[in-house]
């Protein structure tokens, strides 16, 4: 009974109830966006300069927010950010360039791509300049990145009159020394700045000063309550009086809320079919589906035999019925991977065009699998495949126990493999942290692994040909480490034959994606997708679908399927003019 029943029905009002999928609510945490669990909720009381659009290929597409507009120099080296003149903090103070500068200063204490103290880091900012109260100019360092703009615009803005005191008076001088100085002085300056990190994280302003549509009123371990910010620049677009963000510890709680019709919007969670049906039956319930640049793969440790042999990897790919796996593991939140390209299918089409169809699809084909295994020298005895030396071949698929969809997928794969004479079993790790640790230590032969993290093509292939596969980026320089060391658990070869493109170093190519031009990126993505498809460092299993749940009985005008804003919080939707109060009696 938390819905607004007052006469505000036409103009707005009521409580909007939702869940922040990326954040555990923590009542002990400060109201501070720099704190990873701080009670600042993106889009509600947390504001960035702009909000990223969900474009499959272009990471630099943004909706304006605090930054009303921006201009980039043609060589992408300089960005001018123009703040909205009507942006105000919830205490009535206008949002100015100084706020942005302080926010950037604070960001430096935390480290990050755009605000790295090392000027040689890819995409690091070199200079921050306040041009006028509403204009900030930021220049990029020598090592340019194609995502520089995106990183700048994602900067979270905090009020200088609240957070400013965290920066020492000589901060900007210190920063200069750290970035451009030499020797001990620079090191000392660096240490001083990073030394501020803890203080910044721990800082608790006590009450919320927000530039967003809402201000945090109260938070308890179960929920956070936010009320309208009367000074928000687009306040007339905001329908609800209050927003209630609920905490959750397990997906099933979200399911229950949804079935009970309590949530106006819920983030993506994996949902069993039966539950999905119940949710759909709930009054006013609707499901919005959209693109989410994440895919799940079965990754090989090529340092372990027999997975060093590409024929074995291919054979396994031919034995896995991805449609069945998806049906069992993620029936509502995933689509079976069309093939292994390292890219989410939707983005892959955009990047590769018709080239996508030219990739080998690895349809389920036991005969081909047999051939591949034979090619790898594996032998079959009593209907069971054995290693070339005759020793038994045990395929152990590792998954974290806490992800029941992954567990189900792994089980399904192992059953399918077993059907074809491959002795396969599932081994779970107690939790995700342990899983990742052991995975990185090279303890597993096979494990499930997230790939295709778009839209930036570097991010996409960095999952296949990045740190996990031995390529490390240090101060703008790439180096390759031996399999089994320093987190290189995929253990792929440093150079591979890419057919028409000749022998290539996929890690190097991936690194180039960072700063290459659009056309160059397209070429490299083509090569890397082909390499991924032929070499199969992973078998892509399914691509995630961003499944959002909304309830239209209290509010309407949610974004449609595949909307560009789908991966943003409903707070941002409101800022963008979506979400209106539902008219009485109309559902």
């Amino acid at each position: 009974g938390t819905t607004g029943t007052t006469e505000t029905a036409r103009t707005g009002g009521g409580v909007f109830t939702t869940i922040d999928g990326s954040k555990q609510i923590n009542a002990s945490a400060p109201i501070n966006p720099f704190n990873p669990v701080g009670s600042v909720f993106s889009g509600y009381n947390g504001m960035a300069l702009a909000w990223p659009k969900n474009d499959p290929t272009d990471p630099n597409q943004f909706y304006p927010a605090i930054a009303g507009s921006w201009t980039t120099s043609p060589d992408r080296s300089q960005v001018d950010i123009h703040l909205r003149p009507d942006a105000k903090w919830s205490d009535g103070v206008p949002v100015t360039s100084e706020d942005v500068r302080v926010s950037i200063g604070l960001a430096y204490t935390q480290g990050g791509t755009a605000y790295a103290l090392d000027p040689k880091a890819a995409g690091a900012a070199a200079d921050i300049q306040v041009v006028d109260p509403t204009t900030v100019r930021i220049t990029q360092g020598a090592n340019r990145s194609s995502t520089f703009l995106a990183n700048l615009l994602s900067t979270v803005v905090v009020p200088a009159h609240v957070f400013g005191k965290l920066l020492p008076a000589d901060f900007w001088q210190l920063l200069k020394t750290a970035q451009h100085g030499q020797g001990a002085a620079a090191d000392k300056a660096k240490n001083t700045i990073t030394g501020l990190a803890e203080k910044v994280i721990a800082f608790d302003p006590g009450h919320d000063v927000s530039a967003g549509p809402f201000v945090l009123e109260r938070v308890n371990p179960g929920a956070a309550l936010l009320t309208r910010n009367p000074y928000f620049y687009d306040r007339q677009k905001i329908a609800p009086d209050k927003v209630k963000i609920l905490n959750y510890t397990g997906n099933e709680q979200i399911w229950n809320y949804l079935i009970a019709g309590r949530l106006d919007n819920a983030p993506f969670t994996s949902v069993p079919t039966a539950v999905m049906n119940r949710i759909r039956e709930a009054r006013g319930s609707k499901v919005i589906k959209g693109y989410s640049p994440v895919a799940v793969s079965l990754a090989f440790n090529q340092a372990h035999k027999p997975y060093d042999n590409v024929h074995v990897r291919r054979a396994l790919a031919y034995l896995i019925d991805r449609a069945q796996v998806t049906r069992i593991a993620s029936p509502e939140g995933g689509t079976p991977a069309a093939t292994t390209s390292g890219i989410h299918a939707q983005a892959a089409r955009a990047w590769l065009g018709s080239g996508f169809d030219g990739l080998e699809q690895y349809r389920m084909d036991p005969a081909k699998a047999d051939a591949e295994l034979k090619a790898a020298g594996m032998t079959k005895r009593n209907g069971r495949w054995a290693m070339p030396d005759g020793s038994p071949w045990k395929v152990r698929i590792h998954v974290p126990a806490s992800f029941s969809d992954w567990v189900a997928a792994a089980k399904s794969i192992s059953s399918q493999l077993a059907d074809h004479g491959v002795d396969a079993s599932v081994v779970t790790a107690a939790d995700y942290t342990l899983y990742l640790g052991e995975l990185a230590d090279g303890k597993y032969d096979l494990g499930l692994w997230l790939i295709g993290l778009g839209p930036s093509p570097y991010n996409i292939f960095q999952r296949l040909f990045g740190q996990a596969n031995g390529w490390q980026m240090f101060g703008g320089r790439l180096r390759h480490v031996a399999p089994g060391t320093e987190g290189n658990w995929m253990g792929g070869p440093e150079k591979v034959d890419a057919g028409a493109a000749g022998v290539v170093d996929p890690g190097e190519l991936t690194g180039k994606l960072n700063y290459a031009s659009q056309d160059e990126q397209k070429r490299i993505v083509g090569i890397l997708a082909k390499v991924a498809n032929e070499q199969l460092p992973v078998v892509q299993l399914w691509d995630y679908v961003n499944t959002q749940f909304v309830n239209t009985s209290r509010y309407t005008a949610f974004p449609p399927d595949d909307d560009q804003a789908l991966r943003l919080s409903s707070g941002v939707w409101m800022q963008l003019g979506m979400i209106r109060k539902a008219e009485k009696g109309r559902v």
Partner: protein
Amino acid sequence: MTQTVPGRHRAAAIARKVAGHVVRGLVMIWAVATISFVIIREIPGNPVLGQYESLIQKGMSPEQAERATAVLYGFLPTGSLWQQYVGYLGSLLHFDLGRSLSTPGVEVTTLIGHAARWTVLPVLAGTLLSFLLGVTMGVYAAIKRSGRLGDALALSGSLLHGVPVYVIGLLLTAIFATLWPIMPSGGPVDVEFVPGLNPGYIGSLVHHAVLPVVTYTLASYGGWILAMKSNVVAVLGDDFILAAELRGLRRGIVFRYLARNAILPLFTILALSIGMLFGGSIFIEQIFNYPGLGLLLVNSISSRDYALMGGTFLVITVGIVVANIVADLLYTVIDPRVRSGGAA
């Protein structure tokens, strides 16, 4: 034989006894702290990597996830295991449990303090409720033990005693929060109410506590009914009850004799289970999203928050140790036989 001991002597003797208990308790706390320290530091897994990948898993962009986790590297413990241990013991002496990694920048003591509130409330209520219920039913089951009703009560006790708490919790949520949603399915209180002594807030507190408390009550009720039943049966066989009846004492008085004698040994168990309550119930808190110590511990383990894990462990242990001491002393105080030295 009675013996008159000067009051001062007796007080000194009690003080000596308490001191002995406290020293033993401290040694035990130290031992458990050390064991848990070693085990905790040996847990594999990189907490920062874990956080980063979880954020990605939840759909955050890699850049954002990196921003959110980069700073955590500064919170990882450094130095050799021995150095860490010495530092840990040193800060323990100042009641400093260190700083949390999963809620960076917040003192572990603060986190524990907040969580303890939510643990103590429902578990204490559940313990007391189940105690009262179990004891009453236990008496009933003992008195009617040869009848069908007594059998049924005892069997229900044995079964409930056996049914794991998570089964009860799951069933209750399924029924009262999903099928017939009259109860909230999680959280400790509705955030819409201003905290304080206003009816709305308190009502909401109670509303949210009902299911956890009922679950806890049902889960521990079985133990009480069984213990009480067997105690009552034993006391019923004692001669003084028959003697009281043969002296024509009122039924009520005989019943009081019976109940007091049977319940006395349960008080120590009660003290112990109240001590256990700092451990909360991991299952209950997990199922009802109740932000108590149990959940705190689970989260601290999965996020490899070493300081928080150690701190929570310690608090739970201290609770048990203190309860043991209290139980021991309590017995001395409430049982006249032990009180006066048991020289009979």
